[in-house]
């Protein structure tokens, strides 16, 4: 059997030379000093392959146009087996790729492996770093949720600020100004059509150059016998790949990547923030203002890239052992402190994310499915501070009975009487009477009847805008004409899925003057306070389809 395989190998090798090529590649001599510190390059190549694989899988079920992009991603996340895992791998893989590429660069820098004759290898590496960042930038837009949209608005505006090239760059990235279908198509094209072959070419060139000059030796290596790339170094590379993949896989399984609301260009309340690895740039920008802004947005990053490219020409000293490269170590330390400080400052100064941004909209949760009346009950439950004596979810003190036990649920009429005079209905009860109107007590009863031990945490976590929005909804009798989660009337259109149909500004204008937007509408105009309007719109936009 073995003989047959060997013969097949020889036959194939005569015709293609493949076996000889693989052998030449694997049995390359490497310096005696090589070892664990040189695994990062292989890990980066591995992560690129994971990104290509998961990216292709995502593309099989993804429609690259705004709107459809969001819906198809939601379809991947909620309806396809393994879809959430594959998106998780792609999302976290991107972050890990950045980490590993930077670690690779730091290692080469610390060891001085960029020195003559390896300058070209280093420069190609810097270009590969920029390409990796370009993937991050273009891929960020593709989910087409609010986060993606607003992050890209900021990025394209920064590009437009570049001296001389700015206007051309802006036009190249999306027909000038607004982020829309054109920008989307270009980002998608860059992300899946242009960047991958460019990466492959650059990677091939990079590896070719590494092979041409050999792995950089440390001083003293020339006196020691060299090692073989396979299996020594390949073993170390593979173990590193295995560890990185295990971490990536666990993150993809355990850390849910949220999908925010569908991108809404008219949402003025949204605070854009870039992906974590761009935060330091974001923060640098804040140090400059007015006409100097361009220094932070374009000039400094440009100079930094230039300095990186010029590293081998600035440091032309002879190769010394890594333990004696104090200047390089100090430089890396300074860069790490600078990067860390800017990133920390950006994280600390980011305003607390609006409640709507913290919600994962890829699948409806329990609170989204409550009727407006039940949701208003949540508001009264909180206003009356019921958790002072009852435990619901993660809050409360267990003085009174556990309200999530369905066995103690009675009908609404009983509950309302009980709310008004607890001790009259249940002698000996120390619960104080609740001072609310019958209608308000009714919502409270409706909510409590919905409560059980399975949904308690989810209902307890219902955001404030939703419960307050439901109060506005009830106060204005919206349910007299509209349907929400199957409750209400069908005179007007049902309000579930409103976020898909209309933009926020449309809804705001429509409340003020319905007939202006829908001429034959019979809906009266509503003059709501800005706070009420915001809560009501946020609430309606959070309703599941």
């Amino acid at each position: 059997m073995r003989g047959r395989w060997d013969r097949l190998g020889i036959w194939l090798d005569h015709r293609t030379g493949i076996q000889t090529a693989v052998r030449n590649f694997l049995y390359e001599d490497i310096p005696a000093s090589s070892g664990w510190h040189q695994v990062f390059g292989s890990v980066a190549i591995f992560l690129f392959m994971v990104q290509a694989f998961t990216g292709a899988l995502l593309a099989f079920n993804y429609a690259p146009t705004p709107g459809d992009a969001y819906n198809s991603l939601r379809y991947i996340l909620t309806e396809l087996t393994g879809g959430r895992l594959i998106r998780g791998l792609h999302h976290w893989g991107a972050s890990m790729m950045i980490v590993v590429v930077v670690l690779h660069m730091v290692q080469v820098f610390l060891y001085g492996a960029y020195k003559k004759p390896r300058e070209a290898t280093w420069i190609v590496g810097v270009v590969l770093l920029l390409v990796t960042l370009a993937y991050g930038l273009t891929g960020y837009l593709l989910p087409w949720d609010n986060r993606a949209y607003w992050g890209t608005v900021v990025a394209t505006q920064i590009a437009a600020q570049a001296p001389v090239l700015g206007p051309y760059l802006a036009r190249l990235l999306g027909g000038g100004g607004a982020v829309g279908v054109v920008t989307f198509a270009r980002f998608y094209g860059l992300h899946v059509l242009l960047l991958p072959p460019a990466t492959l070419l650059l990677m091939a060139l990079h590896v070719y150059l590494v092979r041409k000059h050999g792995v950089a030796p440390a001083p003293g290596d020339e006196l020691l016998p060299s090692k073989k790339f396979y299996p020594h170094q390949v073993f170390k590379d593979t173990v590193a790949v295995g560890v990185v993949f295990a971490v990536l896989f666990m993150m993809a399984v355990a850390v849910r990547v949220p999908l925010e609301q569908l991108a809404d260009p008219t949402d003025t309340s949204y605070t854009p923030r870039p992906e974590w690895y761009f935060l330091f740039l974001f923060q640098t920008l804040k140090l400059f203002s007015g006409p100097l802004e361009v220094v932070g947005s374009v000039v400094l990053p440009g100079l930094a890239v230039l300095a990186l490219i010029l590293v081998p020409f600035i440091d032309r000293t002879r190769m010394v052992n890594v333990t004696r490269r104090f200047a390089a170590a100090a430089f890396v330390l300074l860069a790490a402190i600078g990067w860390g400080g800017l990133t920390a400052a950006a994280v600390l100064t980011t305003p607390k994310e609006a409640q709507t941004e913290a919600i994962d909209f890829s699948a409806p949760t329990d609170w989204m499915q409550l009727s407006p009346q039940e949701m208003a009950g949540v508001a009264y439950f909180r206003k009356e501070n019921c958790t002072a004596c009852h435990v619901v979810g993660e809050h409360g003190t267990a003085i009174g009975p556990d309200l999530t036990k369905t066995s103690i649920h009675k009908d609404a009429a009983w509950m309302i009487q009980h709310f008004k005079r607890p001790s009259a209905i249940r002698p000996g009860s120390s619960m104080p009477p609740i001072q609310l109107t019958d209608a308000q007590l009714n919502t409270l009863a409706a909510f409590l009847l919905k409560l059980n031990s399975n949904n308690a945490t989810a209902l307890d976590n219902a955001p404030e805008f939703a419960s307050d929005g439901a109060l506005v909804y009830l106060a204005n009798h919206c349910g007299g004409c509209h349907l929400v989660n199957g409750v209400g009337m069908k005179v007007g259109p049902p309000l579930n899925g409103l976020a898909k149909r209309q933009s926020r500004s449309w809804v705001d204008d429509h409340f003020a003057n319905p007939q202006k937007l829908v001429p034959d509408s019979i809906m009266p105009a509503y003059k709501l306070s800005p706070k009420d309007l915001e809560n009501l719109t946020n609430y309606l936009f959070a309703l599941p389809e």
Binding site: Y27, V50, Y75, E79, G82, I86, L89
Partner: protein, 172 residues
């Protein structure tokens, strides 16, 4: 393989075997961790199934026994991440026993649209001349199984149809 290509001689073969074994084992684990979810992702059907809905497609009093009528209607179909409202048709036959059958509009051979041939008293598919009886059974031609049927419900004089089901029996 020449001696020069082999690992340096100071290395023990067990150590070398351990390295090679570990490389293959880790490689296999990673391939499985990526490959299995990928296969599930590509081959398992989406979770959301066709919504069960009954559509009123017309009046049963219009039907004469054993005289097929083509009835058209609009229905929502789930297509990936979209729900599409599309026009569709059914060939409806009232049998001699007053039971109503509604056949899907496509030939079970290669999906061509067939029609009722009054002269032959059979359903005729123009693509490869498959013939089906008024009961949907194959009479001639390459069709592998009888015509597919919609679930049917009659409410008063209203004919309601549900999901299209593939006929289970094969030709033989």
């Amino acid at each position: 393989m020449s001696n020069a290509e082999r690992a340096p001689s100071q290395e023990s073969p067990t150590r070398r075997n351990f390295y090679v074994g570990a490389i293959y084992a880790i490689g296999a684990l990673i391939s499985a961790a990526l490959g299995v979810p990928a296969l599930a992702y590509l081959f398992f059907p989406p979770k959301a199934l066709q919504p069960d809905e009954w559509i009123d497609i017309g009046d049963t009093t219009r039907l004469a026994p054993n005289e097929p009528a083509e009835m058209s209607f609009r229905r929502n179909r789930v297509d990936g991440w979209k729900v599409i409202s599309e026009k569709s048709t059914a060939w409806v036959v009232k049998g001699a026993d007053n039971r109503i059958a509604a056949f899907g509009p496509q030939c079970t051979h290669l999906g061509c649209a067939y029609h009722w041939d009054d002269g032959k008293n059979l359903f005729l598919c123009p693509c490869h001349n498959s013939l089906f009886g008024v009961d949907g059974k194959v009479q001639a031609g390459p069709a592998p199984r009888p015509l597919d049927r919609y679930d049917v419900k009659v409410q008063g004089n209203k004919l309601l149809i549900g999901n299209l089901r593939q006929s289970g029996e094969s030709k033989s």
